[in-house]
């Protein structure tokens, strides 16, 4: 089984981080994984995305063109990538910034979460990405929550480790949204 994901959003929304967590988590589960970033020409801001592949076999192309899953944290990203999601795939998008879904994709599971507002409720407006990731995991089950929690320790630099509990709550919050 090979599962391919795109995480996309404005620079600064933390899409690279959630992609890395997916990949790291996958690796911790003994999978073959790749993570690949892509930036716009802006120095900061603008949009950015990353491709993640989680597979049972050695990964071929790390660049995902037709994802099984998409996490889109802003409007332009949803616009750009939603059409390429495979039938049967999962899309989680940030309803805080996206009022209207640009396209009709009945054959994919589409899930909007108000990441910004939810994050603020958790007391830190930076963890919207983690909430979205939690929701995505809940829907796709591509990697287990525990593996992502373990991955946090590896991916976050030491000086951010105090934020791990917060991030874990955000993950769970997101997961709960789709479970609930």
């Amino acid at each position: 089984m090979t599962y391919e994901i795109i995480c996309a959003g404005f620079g600064g929304q933390g899409v690279m981080l959630i992609g890395q967590l997916l990949a790291y988590g996958g690796m911790l589960e003994g999978k073959e994984v790749t993570w690949f970033p892509s930036y716009g020409p802006e120095m900061r801001g603008g949009t950015a995305n990353c491709s993640v592949v989680v597979s049972d076999q050695p990964v071929g192309s790390p660049v995902v063109a037709e994802p099984d899953g998409l996490i889109a944290l802003n409007g332009p990203s949803l616009m750009r990538f939603m059409g390429s999601v495979k039938p049967g795939g999962v899309i989680v998008y940030n309803a805080s910034l996206i009022n209207e879904v640009p396209e009709d994709r009945p054959e994919v599971r589409l899930f909007g979460i108000a990441a910004n507002e939810l994050a603020e409720k958790l007391g830190n407006d930076k963890v919207g990405n983690m909430i979205a990731l939690g929701a995505f995991l809940g829907l796709s089950k591509v990697v287990g929550l525990a593996s992502i929690e373990a991955a946090l320790k590896e991916v976050l630099p030491e000086r951010r480790h105090h934020l791990i509990p917060l991030n874990i709550s955000a993950l769970h919050k997101g997961w709960a949204l789709v479970e609930g």
Partner: protein, 252 residues
């Protein structure tokens, strides 16, 4: 009501790719204002560097050439020799001008090449993600001086104006800053002066502008301006380092 502060004609309407609060944008505007002021838009040719300002040609409504990293003074020389009546300026960062392009800037200056150089000193390689530059301050942390610039092993920052001032070729050399409105006004005057010098055929002119890189300094834009004032200016004193007699008294 009269418009007392307007969008300069020499800029296009394009939004820049610079980070929020990056003073490259201020310097662009000052250059454009000088060009408007001197009414030379139709005969000015710019040289974009390789650095954060690599897309400068998108923002200036001027003929432009994109130079290889560090080689803008050579490119400017080629253009100026072909069109001596044109006003030719390069816009360069500190990595571009003071590291890889050191030979080119010194020799253009020594030749008294009749070009104008806008030298943006932000103490780092902005575009490539904040590596150490020749102008990085002692102790300053960058991605390639992660333990802080250690002068014992990697040496000392280079003061470009002071270096060029030992040559006979330059006609005008000044260091300015854009960390507050008053200094921005002075910076604008210096830039105008540098262009005027070229128009008068006096020789090489360069304005070093102390500029911020909030992204790679890891600061807010506002903090970054204070850092210019508190850390950079003491190391890089502002002033005019070379001027023909008639402008020595300038308040820049």
């Amino acid at each position: 009501m009269k418009k007392i502060f307007a969008y300069p004609r020499a800029l296009t309407q394009k939004r820049t790719h610079y980070c929020p609060g990056c003073t490259h944008g201020i310097i662009h505007r000052l250059v454009a204002e000088a060009i408007d002021d001197l009414d030379i838009q139709e005969r000015t040719i710019g040289i974009a560097p390789v650095g954060c300002a690599v897309l400068a040609y998108d923002y200036f409504d001027l003929d432009f050439q994109e130079a290889a990293h560090g080689r803008a003074p050579a490119v400017a020389t080629g253009i100026k020799r072909v069109h001596p009546e044109a006003i030719v300026f390069s816009y360069q960062g500190d990595g571009d001008l003071a590291s890889i392009g050191m030979a080119e800037i010194i020799h253009a200056a020594a030749r008294g090449e009749k070009i104008t150089v806008i030298f943006v000193n932000n103490t780092v390689y902005g575009m490539t993600g904040g590596q150490m530059a020749p102008t990085t301050l002692p102790g300053q942390k960058t991605t390639t001086s992660p333990y802080g610039r250690d002068t014992a092993t990697v040496g000392y920052p280079i003061r470009v104006c002071e270096l060029l001032a030992t040559l006979d070729g330059p006609a005008y050399l000044a260091r300015v800053s854009v960390h507050d409105p008053a200094h921005i006004v002075r910076a604008g005057k210096a830039i105008r002066q540098a262009f005027a010098m070229q128009m008068a055929g006096k020789g090489f002119s360069l304005v070093e502008v102390l500029s911020s890189c909030p992204t790679n300094w890891g600061m807010t834009p506002v903090q970054a301006l204070s850092w210019i004032k508190e850390k950079m200016i003491p190391y890089y004193p502002l002033g005019v380092f070379r001027a023909p007699e008639e402008v020595t008294g300038d308040d820049v």
